[in-house]
């Protein structure tokens, strides 16, 4: 009696194994990231994953938390990790990989060469440890943009400047007509200075050896007071310290909150002129605009790419992005990773399926940018796509430099430079150089 029962159980188990083995239906995969679960980005990621679930039967759940970075540390300590974690910066993926937490993407059946050609060698390289790829590129955002209002430009016959010289010429013309060309405010509490470092990075990408020099600068293979860097600081100083270039004057640069900096562009004086015409800031600034202006993002107020300086260099883009790391090599996890690296995983996000309202931009160079439902996202994605395809997309240098510099002396000395004027350039750069650990 007993034997038959065991035999029966064994048969049932075998049948179950045979049926279950082939399909991954009902398997659960957990993704943990920084954009909160119930926010636009979190909902968008879940919407994309729901499409995948419908096709494959693998149940993918996205969970996001504003304390992601602390929580994922705790989870790694305790061993209670999700299947996939989506970090807002690649450096953290590398850290986790060095601690032996992550599975190399190649072990999940990902073709690394194909992945590199889809996402640019630079981006893939940010998630590499000793030549092994751990990080999966996901979304990117763009900092190399200048906001302007096409109607105001047209009214006065201004052309979009394609080069630095054209931008300076336009600025001089605006000053000559009695107005201010630039909005520039960099106050940001303890982080004051990052806006000026962004400017420096954009200029560095477009001068000297372009991305090569930029990478050397980030890795401290050239000193911080190298002539190339000095040249960049001089160009930045030209914007900050030329009389009447900045609305409110040079003194206002350090004291104006970065989120309020663009407000003069939306105001009109007695003659119907805006307070400023150009504002270099990343795409997130839209959220800080007055509500009436936010609806016109991409149409009434839109962007042109940061002008090139050395015409012989490819069109570069400065930005940041998310990268995911994988904690196990389950078959279901591997399927999700493959999906996340395919352009299909971004269709639901771009088309705003379910009305989540996300503005995430895919890092996949083959993604069809016309799918984005917002005008401004299409513009930004176009610039990013070109730069990624030319392998000229670079991460924010101050995020890649050691924190003593990237979140310390670089910010501080750029703030001092704004206050002290062009005579301070040498001192500023030497001070940063001396602070490099």
């Amino acid at each position: 009696m007993r034997k038959t029962l065991i035999g029966l159980l064994a048969v049932v188990a075998l049948i179950a194994a045979a049926c279950g083995g082939a399909s991954l239906e009902g398997e659960e995969v957990l993704i943990f990231g920084a954009p909160a679960t119930d926010g636009p980005d979190g909902k968008a990621i879940q919407a994309a994953m729901d499409e995948f679930s419908e096709e494959t039967g693998i149940i993918v759940t996205y969970v996001g938390s504003e304390n992601f970075e602390q929580e994922i540390q705790v989870q790694m300590e305790s061993g209670d990790t999700p299947d996939i974690a989506l970090w807002p910066q690649p450096g953290a993926v590398v850290d986790a990989a060095k601690r032996g937490m992550l599975t190399p993407l190649a072990d999940l059946g990902i073709d690394i060469d194909e992945y590199k050609s889809n996402y640019s060698a630079y981006l893939v390289g940010l998630g590499e440890v000793d030549g092994v790829v751990y990080g999966g590129a996901n979304a990117v955002n763009l900092k190399s943009i200048v906001w302007y209002q096409p109607a105001e430009f047209e009214k006065r016959g201004y052309a979009i400047p394609n080069t630095w010289d054209e931008m300076i010429a336009l600025a001089d013309q605006i000053v000559a007509e009695g107005m201010n060309p630039f909005c520039f405010g960099m106050y940001s509490n303890g982080a004051t200075g990052w806006l000026a470092t962004d400017w420096m990075e954009d200029i560095m990408l477009r001068t000297g050896g372009g991305t090569d020099t930029y990478d050397k600068w980030v890795n401290h293979e050239i000193p911080f007071n190298d002539p190339v860097v000095k040249n960049a600081a001089t160009l930045l100083s030209q914007i900050m310290h030329t009389d009447n270039y900045v609305v409110g004057g040079t003194d206002a640069i350090v004291s104006t909150f970065f989120g309020d900096a663009q407000n003069p562009m939306f105001e009109r004086d007695g003659n119907g002129n805006p307070g400023c015409f150009m504002h270099r800031q990343a795409s997130f600034i839209v959220g800080f605009w007055p509500e009436a202006a936010q609806g016109g993002a991409g149409t009434e107020t839109t962007v042109f790419p940061f002008p090139s300086i050395d015409a012989s260099l490819p069109k570069a883009a400065l930005g940041a992005g998310d990268m995911f790391g994988v904690f196990n090599d389950r078959d279901a996890t591997a399927e999700v990773v493959k999906y996340m690296l395919s352009p299909d995983s971004f269709t639901a996000i771009a088309t705003n399926k379910g009305g989540h309202g996300s503005t995430r931009i895919s890092a996949h160079t083959g993604f069809d940018t016309s799918l984005y439902d917002k005008a401004i996202t299409q513009v930004l994605a176009g610039v990013l796509n070109d730069a990624l395809s030319a392998n000229a997309f670079r991460f924010d240098a101050s995020d890649l430099m050691p924190p003593e510099v990237g979140a310390g002396s670089f910010w501080k000395e750029m703030t001092n430079l704004a206050v002290e004027g062009p005579g301070y350039i040498d001192t500023a750069l030497s001070n940063v150089e001396n602070s490099w650990p």
Partner: protein, 299 residues
């Protein structure tokens, strides 16, 4: 009643001071409550006091913030989870602490003082410091000199892990409070029971426990409120899986938006999660005050 016999808090000056303190204490909560009924745009633009000042408040009152939280998916599951965490996390430490408190109060044994100082000393250790070691313990267990003291349980992400954590964090205070309370009971009663030949177990269950109900209820209120309101311990030990969310972490998640821009929902979320503690507190208020004062004054 002559003037001298008046209690100090009956004097007009004292009353004025007490009322001022009470009002200033309530001030932020009033603002909090008002903000929870204002639309998100207004909360971000103007302060609640200026909205009263210019009369804008009354025209803009809305329940929108409440709808967003109350009709969120799975909020009822989170309430259930909160109770599934709070009730055992209250009962387990009280049970253990009542036995310990009895021993500290009525049994003479060697090293009693040292042991008690040790228990009280535990209250000083901030729980944040022990989070990671505790996580590691619950995952991998502990092996000392090749002997397994605690097996590899992999408890993290389960309710049991949170119960254990809250029991550990709650025990020192529970033992301390209950011991003080039990020492305030009339000694003669316990002694006469002893003379009559009652064992410790009988004395505990038949005599001390019924007499300590006020103290136990006080601590139960205390512990329940703290566990229910806790965000950190639940978040750390229960993990991030949606089916494990408690009310506090669910409300936190609902009120973020992408990266924090939905913070205007925080006030209504907090009011909703506050309902349970308020009910518990007002039901058990009598015990709460008596229990705490009983231990401190008479002991």
């Amino acid at each position: 009643m002559t003037r001298e016999q008046q209690k100090w808090y009956d004097k007009p000056v004292s009353k004025l001071i007490l009322i001022t303190i009470a009002l200033s204490w309530m001030f932020p909560y009033v603002g909090f409550l008002i903000s929870s009924f204002r639309p998100g745009e207004s909360v971000k633009r103007t302060s609640w006091w200026s909205s009263i000042g210019n009369g804008q408040l009354f025209s803009e009152l809305t329940l929108e913030n409440y709808y967003e939280i109350l009709f969120a998916e799975n909020l009822s599951r989170s309430f259930f989870n909160s109770f599934a965490v709070s009730i055992p996390s209250t009962i387990i430490p009280i049970t253990i602490a009542a036995f310990a408190a009895y021993a500290f109060a009525f049994i003479d044994f060697r090293g009693k003082e040292v042991a008690f100082i040790f228990v009280v000393g535990m209250m000083i250790i901030p729980l944040q410091m022990s989070l990671i070691p505790l996580l590691k313990l619950m995952k991998g267990g502990a092996i000392l000199f090749g002997v397994t003291i605690i097996p590899e349980l992999s408890l993290n992400g389960t309710f049991v892990a949170v119960w254990f954590a809250h029991t550990g964090f709650g025990l020192p205070l529970a033992t301390f409070l209950l011991r003080d309370f039990m020492m305030s009971l009339p000694k003669s009663v316990v002694e006469s029971a002893k003379i009559d030949g009652a064992s410790h177990l009988t004395t505990f269950f038949k005599l001390v426990l019924p007499l300590s109900v006020a103290g136990i209820a006080a601590f139960a209120t205390f512990q329940f409120l703290w566990v229910y309101n806790d965000f950190l311990v639940a978040n750390v030990f229960m993990g991030i899986k949606p089916e494990n969310l408690v009310v506090t972490s669910h409300v936190a998640q609902l009120t973020v938006g992408n990266y924090g821009e939905e913070w205007h929902l925080r006030t209504s979320g907090a009011v909703i999660s506050m309902i349970v503690p308020l009910i518990v507190f007002f039901t058990l208020q009598r015990f709460f005050v008596r229990g705490l004062i009983g231990g401190s004054v008479k002991g």
